[in-house]
Symmetry: C2
Subunit: 405 residues, 2 copies
């Protein structure tokens, strides 16, 4: 399976890409995530020994008489507040007309599409009226877990740790995957104890999440987008506004309880005594303090929940992370600090699409899912050739080819 | 022991109040807390049956030949950034010249004063130069715990719960006090597992504390003081800016995982999609969201730590709380929500002075401390007449009489 960034991002032509087999939506509080699969009508002769690395998933049924399917999993993000953009994209791609989920009535133009997230409920009438799509609702937590389990099992080196500026990619042994804590950082944060396929419990969460970073950041810095705010934070210095232990202790550590002088004692605490207005602070310093405050808090609450259930591994997903070095570093350091090195923060390449992938995989009708699971999952990890080039940033779409080698 | 609000607050006259026996300081990141004891030179005849309710603690030694001591514990707060006000107050009250801790060298004007908090280190030279005071540093956590233990044991109905707008005062059985979690919410937050006198461990904390509320609040609302911000929050509506579960789910609950439509999904999350600048929001709504975000987060992390160590009772102290109904309600609801009713949030009347009282009690030389502990603690709770009238707000000073009945 290859999830490779395509060269023609943003210029995707459905006619070139061939038949669309499936789409699924995850509409959250801030972002709507769309996943859709396209084959490229490139067929090959089926044969156990004769499958080239480029021809992979056996196609049991389809409009063409191909014996082997090769295609792409495409990812696309929209702001939920601009849900019209999402509708327009689906329309322009004719996604609402294709797919194996088209209802059986041949005269009907109604397509059933798997959808999760609160927006699947909120926008159900809108999708029906504008596109004739029936949103077939799947539970948000079910989808997050299904998506994470699928990606961790199927995609080569989906997971990685981040420490001291270095990503360390790894394959998780399928037999040693469970239990783990899944922390999905969307607008809010959900923390889910996962013990197996479909076996999980949402054990905690926090309202201080990506929506808080973006919402407070927008108010404080007048940034226009989440990515602009992230970019700002990269250049900022949190020590300008955060009250450090050293600020309280006159530059020294509070060593008796293991707090260094550089430890943040109070996020934004310096703003109390500084005789400054909001305009007197650099937006980048504010963004940095905000990111650090939120990432650290999520890391801490995650660790406390992992500890509570004896979970050694914490996987962080959701679009808040955006593979952003400073975010991952803060979360990793927080988990490491609070657990005294006992628990490990891990990140996912497809962090933002867990729910959408889970919804995509939730269709019982869909032969692709079965094929993917049968063909890929049943192979030993070492025999599956899966690589991911490039990460998901902002609102770019990423096209991915799906095949097994 | 009576800690009663005096009628002449702010007009305290040291000459009327008599000899000053002791003072202690707790200088935190935002606030400096001063506690000092004065007797009022009112003597009575010692006798087990003949002591009136107004004459209480036997005085074993002193400048007068009184057999019984009656006096006041005085509390005073200053902003740490205006530490000069604190110095001026001490000077005007001649606190730096009195006290039983005056060093033995009769020619010296140097007084040793117990002090805790980071400011005890940061301002040590300043106090020496300006007032000739040697700050005798005591560990911050030691003092918080000593202060909390002392107040819980000695003061009648020091602790209370807060639910549905009602305070329920209670005496904690001395034999059933430990273990408990002490959460001190200053600029930052410390969480301490307390197992006995001097037996404790700082197990956690968070940088999202009172300094964050005040610092972010100042930037977002242009409030001039913590109390103004609290007052604003009282009138605000957090639903204007917070993204609720219902906002994501189109007005419905996410009932499968027990999240009501009114649950906050993302603090400040609505600011993302609202086409508004900071000025377009009412300061009171911002203050309310901020207070709710911070109180809820502290309640949650506190609960997770209480759970970790099997602690059923959590005492919340620190000047963040200010007996503010909405703050206490949010913390109580958070602890109740996350623990499913198993853990209980409790508050302390002298919330802001735990460290200062602890520092005050830390002097070995001081006979008052011994007397208080001997005379009051050794009595059964029911036979100690302790009442507190009024709560501590803002920067008022409160005078308190100290006697046992």
């Amino acid at each position: 399976m290859d999830l490779r960034k395509s060269e023609n991002e943003g210029n995707f032509d459905p006619n070139q890409s061939g038949h669309i087999y499936q789409m699924a939506l995850d509409i959250g509080g801030s972002l709507a995530k769309l996943v859709y699969f396209t084959d490229n009508e490139d067929c090959a002769i089926e044969g156990k020994d004769g499958i080239s690395p480029e021809k992979a998933v056996a196609k049991s049924k389809g409009s063409k008489s191909c014996a082997v399917l090769r295609g792409k999993l495409n990812f696309k993000i929209f702001e939920t507040s601009k849900i019209d953009d999402c509708l327009e994209f689906i329309k322009s791609m004719k996604l609402h007309l294709g797919g194996s989920q088209r209802q059986e009535n041949p005269g009907s133009q109604t397509t059933a599409v798997k959808a999760t997230g609160g927006g699947a409920y909120k926008y159900t009438d809108l999708f029906k009226e504008r596109l004739g799509i029936n949103l077939d609702k799947e539970d948000e937590m079910d989808c997050l877990v299904a998506g994470a389990n699928f990606l961790l099992k199927v995609v080569h080196q989906e997971a990685y740790t981040y420490m001291d500026g270095q990503k360390q990619f790894m394959d998780v042994d399928h037999n040693d995957l469970y239990p783990y804590l899944l922390v999905n950082i969307g607008s809010g944060v959900s923390m889910i104890k996962v013990e197996g396929d479909g076996k999980f419990e949402r054990v905690s969460g926090t309202s201080i999440g990506g929506g808080t970073f973006w919402g407070l950041g927008k108010l404080l810095t007048k940034c226009r987008s989440f990515d602009e705010l992230l970019e700002l934070s990269y250049r900022g210095n949190n020590r300008v506004i955060d009250m450090l232990v050293g600020d309280i202790y006159g530059g020294t550590d509070y060593s008796k309880i293991g707090l260094a002088s550089t430890t943040i004692a109070s996020s934004f605490g310096k703003a109390i005594s500084d005789n400054k207005e909001i305009e007197d602070y650099k937006p980048e310093d504010i963004a940095r303090s905000l990111l650090r405050m939120i990432s650290n808090n999520i890391g801490q609450i995650s660790y406390l929940n992992a500890l509570r259930f004896g979970l050694k591994r914490i996987f962080f997903g959701g679009f808040f992370i955006r593979s952003h070095p400073f975010t991952m570093d803060t979360i990793s350091v927080a988990v490491n600090f609070w657990s005294k090195g006992e628990a490990k923060a891990m990140f996912l390449r497809h962090e933002g699409f867990l729910g959408a992938v889970g919804a995509f995989m939730s269709s019982d009708q869909h032969e692709l899912k079965k094929l993917l699971l049968n063909e890929v999952v049943q192979q030993a990890p070492s025999s599956v050739s899966c690589t991911v080039a490039g990460e998901l940033h902002g609102e770019e779409s990423i096209e991915c080819r799906v095949y097994s080698a």
